[in-house]
Symmetry: C2
Subunit: 377 residues, 2 copies
């Protein structure tokens, strides 16, 4: 893996990431291909929507079809027919959020499969073995996703466990692919700092910010990013996990983040919640029933170029599969286009001005750049 | 509408149908776009799969979004983003098969909407008005789909009602588009003959065979087609409604049919039942779990060119939307490719030999050409 920092504007960065399966321009958004499929969207539709890199979920794929099954296909790329880069998470987040009866100890996390009830033990070593079998371009260390709210002592103890698992992940990961560390520490800046230092000492190809967008107030999320991102190694990519809305993307990039992922564009699409240059739209709202307008007049995606709001409203109302597909294509294309514009603005050094025009389109104003984390909330 | 009969081989015909929205080569199969969407498949995917003409369902579209809504979009083509020909049925079949509490009298059929319970009256005049609003290239008369089994007296009375409705349909249909009559009469050859004569006297741009594939034994269906199709006007297209399996397509063309439609390729696809040149495949069968083979090595569709049986098995098992889409793309492409080959075989005058090679691929033998309808069954 190679990362080139092409420009820095304030804390925002323009970069280029060269991976085993191709080049990724940063800042970039990565759609989620949970079970080896970005729900409802085919690989050629993803390419047309401008997707450069996908996220695959270790937790889901270890359950179905299983790492061994995917290994027989020489990895996730060949299995799902996607030849551009893939990043896989380590399963940690989903174990904590989706699996019942999980039991955490020093060794790892044991839980029951939500598919068939099998007892499963996920450890740093197992998470690395699975990601090696998936042959993702970028693997993530196995960590504990610290919940919110949590006491500082609880956050510290969780962060320290994640650091020990980071060490074991690094030792167990013998693939040539890239491995990223994950900074934890809740919304406590000094814990974040300690986590980052510990990870940096171990040494990773890139560094992620984990444990955000888990219930904390939005200003606390942005402030945590603002405080830690600029301290992360400048010559390595910085990945903010599981975030977020279009505004979150703009604000995170402004604070120094290079890569982001989230299920929001696809999950919201399936529920008829669509992102546009003039703000969010609920397509099932009756106001769209007779509309022959494009979903977003400024969007060049397949959906906006070929169908009306009235048709998308109808498909949603009838529960037609095609509605989920067309909505997902648009939301993904919208996120990718936002990142393309962000890169252009960074290249031409007018990021803040560009961001203001985007917010104006949404009839919103940007959040304040700083926030007092210690103030009573 | 213009129909050119290019060649006749036995009873099988090669033709070319020129419609308001383009040319259709016959024999042809038409996928069903029930609610203004071929379930799970986008218009560009339909074009790539070789689709030349779609069927739209008046019954479904009158319920959602309603004929008036589609009229505001200048018809079904613009509403659903499909610029090639469309044939619409008249709603009759679905009223009889899907709607509860339908009440038939001379005027038409009254029933309750399965969507919202509204009381709806569908008459020949209303069915023609709706299809005019949809602006389909080919509209169908409103008829009663005669059930099976039924006494000869019952079949005759139903056929006569359909003839009177055919007359009213013709009178009410003032559009420039084509209107097809529908031959009824159950499996009684003389009733079929009388129905055809009655329709021919009224005069239509094309003639369909209705009321088959409604429960009668397969040999009775094929024999009914064999007896009536050759008597239908040679210079007009002949459309067999709601049929059928790949074998049914081959046998119906052999007996003189030019056009067919059926939900089978798409409905079966969503249930993991896939048609291939080596026979039908249930993709959820565990034998496909680790298979890196293409679904059909002889198929050039997007699915077969890019994905393995193992991946399709996985998508089916996870209930992923993309599985329904990829399966549907293949089944549609398979049906269209079968018709393309049939046209080639007719052009080169070796239809029977070609059909034998297709059956050999399935490890099947063709059904007998003739069948004694009067024999005790």
């Amino acid at each position: 893996m190679q990362f080139e920092l092409l420009a820095q504007r304030g804390e925002a960065r323009l970069g280029r990431l060269t991976l085993a399966h191709g080049v990724v321009e940063t800042p970039i958004f990565m759609p989620c291909g949970t079970y080896g499929s970005v729900k409802g969207v085919s690989p050629d539709q993803l390419r047309s929507a401008g997707v450069q890199i996908l996220l695959g979920n270790t937790f889901h794929l270890m359950l179905r079809p299983g790492a061994e099954a995917i290994e027989r296909f020489n990895g996730l790329h060949q299995f799902m027919g996607w030849d551009r880069p893939i990043l896989t998470d380590s399963g940690g987040f989903q174990v904590f959020s989706l699996a019942d009866m999980n039991k955490v100890n020093e060794e790892g996390v044991s839980f029951r499969s939500p598919i068939n009830g099998d007892k499963i033990l996920l450890t740093p070593e197992r998470a690395m073995a699975i990601q090696t079998a998936l042959n993702s371009d970028i693997a993530m260390i196995f960590d504990e996703c610290t919940p919110y709210p949590i006491s500082k002592a609880g956050a510290e103890s969780s962060m320290q466990l994640s650091l020990r698992w980071a060490q074991r992940s690094r030792a167990a990961f013998t693939s040539d692919n890239a491995l990223f560390g994950i900074v934890q520490g809740g919304i406590y800046p000094d814990l974040r700092q300690a986590s980052l230092e510990g990870l940096h000492k171990i040494g990773f190809e890139g560094y992620a910010i984990g444990g955000l967008s888990v219930g904390e107030p939005k200003p606390a999320m942005l402030e945590t990013i603002r405080r830690i991102a600029p301290k992360m190694p400048a010559q390595s990519p910085r990945y903010l996990m599981g975030v977020g809305t279009p505004s979150d993307l703009i604000e995170s990039v402004r604070r120094g983040v290079d890569m982001m992922d989230c299920v929001m564009p696809t999950r919201n699409a399936r529920n008829g919640h669509l992102f546009t240059s003039s703000g969010a739209i609920r397509i099932r709202n009756a106001v769209h029933r007779a509309s022959d307008e494009a979903l977003d007049a400024n969007c060049s995606c397949y959906t906006c170029q070929n169908f009306s709001r009235g048709y998308l409203h109808h498909l949603d109302k009838c529960g037609e599969i095609l509605g989920a597909t067309l909505n997902s294509i648009h939301n993904i294309a919208y996120y990718l286009e936002l990142m393309r514009q962000a890169r252009g603005a960074l290249a031409e050094d007018h990021y803040d001005a560009w961001a203001l025009t985007v917010y104006a389109g949404w009839s919103e104003t940007p959040p304040p750049l700083e926030f007092d984390l210690e103030a009573p909330q």
